[in-house]
């Protein structure tokens, strides 16, 4: 069963007074539990695509259906509600809210969704990542690797239907990146999480179910 169906997606941006097409008639379909890795040079439109799928921006044309819901038909408030319930996000850096502790950061999606009764799950995830002893610390007191692991916990705690990860280990040193990525992939497999992961690392693609490259506004199969 497909989790995500994108069809005929178009997006243009105004650059120096002229309209530039970033995405042109883009189609994408993802099945539950699939790990999709997205490659492409800087400026190819990867971020724009994630932006549209997350519902923080609207396409010029085309539809994005997720769990049967047409995101393009929703207003801003509707898209926000949908995002907080069904999508998880991990960025390259600046992932955590600096004024919330580790545990509070992880509990945030549960709190926003009114599911605080699932707090034990958050604690379990924290334990799985080996961060229980850091639960009351603030992000600034964590190392980069620890911050990314907390961000992964938070992105997954409410069991979203789709995880969007934008170079989640891109800002870490190689050893830490490998460690964090291993933990992340392990969790994704265990949770059967549908994931779109943007990466520049060809080596990582071996873990993907499917690898696509964004080229001239369209997706091309890599392997």
């Amino acid at each position: 069963m497909s989790v995500l169906e994108v069809s005929g997606l178009c997006k243009c941006f105004e650059v120096a007074g002229t309209s530039q097409s970033i995405l042109q008639n883009l189609d994408l379909r993802m099945d539950r539990g699939e790990l999709l890795m997205l490659l492409g040079p800087s400026g190819s439109g990867k971020s724009s695509l994630l932006n549209l799928i997350a519902g923080v921006d609207k396409p010029d044309a085309g539809t994005i259906r997720m769990l049967g819901q047409d995101l393009t038909a929703l207003d801003e408030a509707g898209r926000t509600r949908f995002r907080r319930q069904h999508i998880g996000v991990v960025y390259q850096f600046f992932n955590l809210i600096p004024t919330l502790t580790v545990l509070e950061n992880i509990l945030l999606p549960l709190s926003l969704n009114g599911r605080l009764d699932e707090q034990p799950k958050a604690e379990a995830q924290l334990e799985a990542m080996g961060l229980t002893h850091k639960r009351n610390q603030f992000p600034e007191q964590l190392s980069g690797g620890e911050q990314q692991r907390v961000a992964i916990c938070r992105a997954l705690v409410h069991k979203p239907a789709l995880l969007l990860a934008d170079e989640p280990t891109g800002s870490l040193d190689n050893d830490t990146a490998d460690l964090v990525m291993a933990q992340m992939l392990d969790t994704l497999k265990r949770e059967k999480m549908t994931t779109i992961m943007v990466t520049h690392s060809e080596a990582l693609t071996q873990h993907a179910d499917r690898v696509l490259r964004l080229h001239r506004g369209r997706l091309e199969q890599v392997s």
Binding site: S47, V56, R83, R84, Y91, F94, P98, L108, P109, N113
Partner: protein, 838 residues
């Protein structure tokens, strides 16, 4: 290159530059407006007096008027003294709109060297004969047009001697100069006849050198004095000292708030460009080169902001001057002239002050920026740590030091009025320095209450906004300080005004304790007509009157300032009207019955350093005499002071007849009957004014409240300056948190939650500032009532903290912060998408 980079930064963030300029402009505008207003009012007072005194250095005067024979003797015996006789009186034009004018009667032959108005007359060929043959006057062309009288036409004047008709025979070419527009010139002989002052003069003007002064004093008979006109000028100017004092204090406040705002705006503007400066420093820009650039940029911005502020200040000064004129019209017989004085020297001083103040306020942020190692220039976290450390250091060392300085200055009498002001400024600064620590404390306290609770888990935005106050201290700290100062000024000045109002109201209620006050209607302000003795006897004999007190008054000069001496029989019912500073009431009243005993008001006692048992020298009709001070009473009627003595003592030394009666009724319910009886018996013969104390009290309170309108306007302006500070800081935070907004949106926070985050942070800041402003404001009120008022006016005010005032302060603080956050919060919530993905 640096300039270009900065210019582009401002082009991308124009509101930053705009708010920086607005901050400087508003601060300068308020200070400039106050400076220009007070300058103009002082100048107008002086100029108005110069129209009367001319170039005279001294004048011979008496309590009331001086005999003309004195002038004749002087001319005959001491003709080498340059002198001119003068009649001076306030008159009113008749018609629908009465215009108050200063009439001066001069001797045209003796005027040369004294006043120059005669040289400005035009409109017809006027000879001395024109002025002398019939009651003829000369007035300003603009005034003649306003009154609607032409040359050689008749004009009706209401004088102390009744209604008189005069002919306009000449016009003063005023060329729009308002200083001449309240002036009426007349021949001295005509003026004497018209005012019923034949054989008398108001004063004799003299131009004396230092050697002649002693000779004149020696030559003068008893009952007349030689006064220095400079003293008279400053004495006149001092009439409005309370108002000037208020304005100066508020000017100081606006300056402090303005400087905080500049500091905040500059700090933020620099911190925004930290990455640019960091790269430049990494590329090899030296500290000195960076300093030079920053100084140049700041000088440019400060100059533009100051000039804009000056223009705004001039507009504001027009408004303040008209408010001031209203107040002065309420308080004094004649108001000063509405001449807005734009003195180049004063304007230059304001420009220097604006630019200098900006440079001074910006020095610290520039220094911090220039001396931080390039590698750490980009670290936002480090900035916050530094801000936190600084706030701790200020709280630990700076605040106690400032409080100590403030206490020394305020408790040590020798520091004078400006010492008291400096003490208050130190107190405000101490409060401001405590602000970041107070915000941190409040944030910790709320967090402790919330953390771990279900509420915090359900509403994580609550915890976030509480902690944000600590995290953004380097941005919000200064704005919170400015708000706290503005609010504490509201509490402090509000507390002082309300305590003052309560004290005055109580004082008036006690003082106006008679049932009815009777006097003759005044045709002119300041002119009191004597009551006939048969009228007094008749009223005293009316059935139902328990006691009658006659009221007499004479103006004396004590310690170089005018002091009113009042006298009355002081019957038993009148005595509760006087509350004494110390000592036994009964003993004071007993001692007052002894010959040549007086009571003096608290301001006079403080000004002259007198206390019960001391001697006071007063000028009587027979020359100087010693009087015994037997008590000091509370009084808020005059900061120059007042003297009270029994009528029996007064009659022995002065000749003034009673101008009023205070009637005490056995049964207050018969007030209507008594009023009716007086009107029936004397209404035809005398133009009587019967005033009930309740009505007098109401009018006095109205005047009091109007006096403080200008204060309210300026307090509001200080609040506007603080408001701009918060707006600027919150916009800065909003800009800096774009990354965070992206994250929050991605996590799923909706717009309302995003708005709540910044709005809540701002409301908390307002709450913190409001809470700290209450104790700081109370200390300020204490300083103003117990120290400044006492040193400025000599009167003490019992201070009563007002809970309603506290609530207003909190509401004002939270509302100002909330309102200032609306636009930044809206922008915060409407930022486009997740920037990283854009």
């Amino acid at each position: 290159m640096i300039f270009r980079a900065s210019l582009r930064h401002f082009r991308h963030h124009p509101w930053q530059l705009l708010l920086l300029l607005l901050g400087i402009s508003l601060g300068v505008a308020v200070v400039a407006a106050i400076e220009i207003t007070t300058d103009s009012a002082r100048h107008s007072f002086r100029e108005a007096q110069l129209q009367i005194y001319g170039r005279a250095t001294h004048r011979i005067q008496a309590q009331q008027r001086i005999p003309e024979s004195l002038y004749v003797s002087q001319r005959r015996e001491q003709s080498h003294w340059q002198s001119a006789p003068v009649i001076s009186s306030v008159v009113k034009t008749s018609g629908d709109e009465h215009l108050l004018m200063q009439l001066i009667g001069v001797d045209p032959l003796r005027e040369q060297g004294f006043r120059n108005q005669l040289g400005r007359i035009s409109g017809s060929d006027i000879g001395f004969s024109d002025l002398q043959t019939s009651p003829a006057v000369v007035m300003a062309r603009a005034t003649a047009a306003e009154v609607g009288v032409g040359l050689n036409e008749q004009l009706t004047l209401i004088t102390a001697n009744g209604t008189q008709t005069v002919t306009l025979v000449g016009l003063l070419e005023d060329a729009g100069d308002p200083r001449l527009q309240q002036l009426l010139l007349m021949d001295i002989g005509q003026a004497q006849r018209m005012l019923g002052m034949e054989g008398y003069l108001s004063h004799i003007d003299l131009i004396l050198d230092a050697d002649e002064v002693a000779a004149v004093k020696a030559w003068l008979p008893g009952g007349v004095q030689l006064e220095v006109t400079e003293a008279a000028l400053s004495e006149r100017a001092q009439l409005a000292s309370a108002l000037y004092f208020n304005l100066q204090a508020l000017g100081l406040l606006a300056l402090v708030v303005g400087l905080f705002l500049v500091f905040s705006s500059v700090s933020f503007s620099l911190s925004q460009r930290r990455p640019i400066f960091a790269q430049l420093r990494t590329l090899g820009l030296t500290v000195n080169e960076l300093y030079r650039y920053l100084a140049m940029e700041l000088l440019l911005i400060a100059t533009v902001g100051t000039l804009a502020g000056l223009l705004l200040g001039i507009v504001l000064a027009q408004l303040l001057l008209s408010l001031m004129l209203n107040t002065l019209s309420d308080l004094y017989v004649t108001s000063p002239l509405s001449l807005l004085l734009l003195n180049p020297l004063s304007l230059g001083k304001l420009v220097l002050m604006g630019i200098g103040g900006c440079m001074l306020a910006a020095w610290k942020p520039c220094q911090q920026l220039a001396h931080v190692p390039p590698a750490s220039l980009q670290q936002r976290y480090l900035q916050e740590q530094t801000a936190l450390q600084q706030s701790r250091q200020l709280g630990r060392y700076g605040v106690p030091a400032l409080v100590f300085i403030a206490l020394v200055l305020m408790l040590w009498q020798g520091s004078g009025l400006w010492g008291a002001f400096a003490g208050i400024a130190a107190l405000l600064l101490a409060g401001a320095w405590l602000m970041p620590a107070a915000l941190t404390g409040l944030s910790h306290l709320l967090e402790r209450q919330l953390a771990g609770t279900q509420l915090a888990l359900r509403k994580p935005v609550l915890l976030m906004l509480i902690r944000d106050n600590r995290r953004n201290l380097s941005r919000t700290g200064i704005a919170a300080m400015a708000l706290m100062i503005a609010i504490s000024a509201t509490v402090g000045i509000g507390g002082m005004v309300s305590s003052f109002r309560d004290a005055v109201q109580l004082w008036l209620t006690e003082r106006l304790n008679a049932d009815l006050y009777v006097s003759q209607s005044r045709v002119l302000p300041g002119v009191r007509k004597a009551l006939p003795s048969e009228f007094i006897t008749d009223v005293a004999s009316l059935e139902g009157i328990e006691a009658v007190a006659t009221l007499r008054r004479v103006q004396l000069s004590v310690g170089g300032r005018p002091v009113n001496l009042y006298a009355s029989e002081l019957p038993q019912p009148m005595r509760p009207a006087y509350q004494f500073v110390a000592s036994d009431r009964n003993a004071i009243w007993q001692r007052l019955a002894e010959p040549d005993s007086v009571l003096i008001s608290e301001p006079l006692a403080n000004r002259m350093g007198l206390r019960a048992g001391d001697q006071l020298v007063l000028t009587t009709n027979a020359g100087e005499r010693d009087f015994s001070v037997v008590g000091v009473y509370y009084d808020y009627g005059s900061d120059s002071g007042r003297i009270l003595m029994p009528a029996t003592t007064f009659i022995r030394h002065w000749s003034e007849s009673p101008y009023g009666l205070a009637l005490y009724l056995a049964d207050s319910g018969r007030l209507d009957d008594i009023e009716q009886a007086i009107r029936e018996r004397w209404g035809g013969a005398l133009d009587l004014r019967l005033q009930r104390s309740s009505l007098l009290l109401q009018r006095s309170v109205e005047v009091f409240n109007r006096t403080f309108v200008i204060t309210d306007v300026l307090r509001l302006l200080a609040l506007v300056v603080a408001f701009v500070g918060i707006l600027s800081s919150l916009l800065a935070i909003q800009l800096e948190r774009q990354e965070e907004v992206s994250l929050l949106k991605a996590v799923g926070l909706n717009r309302l939650e995003l708005v709540s985050l910044l709005l809540g942070q701002s409301l908390l800041l307002g709450l913190g500032a409001g809470l700290l402003a209450i104790p700081v404001g109370e200390l300020l009120a204490w300083g103003l009532t117990h120290v400044v008022q006492l040193r400025a006016f000599g009167w003490s005010i019992p201070y009563q903290p007002d809970l309603a005032n506290w609530l207003t302060a909190l509401l004002l603080s939270v509302s100002a912060a909330g309102l200032a956050s609306l636009y930044p919060a809206w922008r915060f919530a409407h930022q486009r998408g997740i920037r990283r993905w854009e």
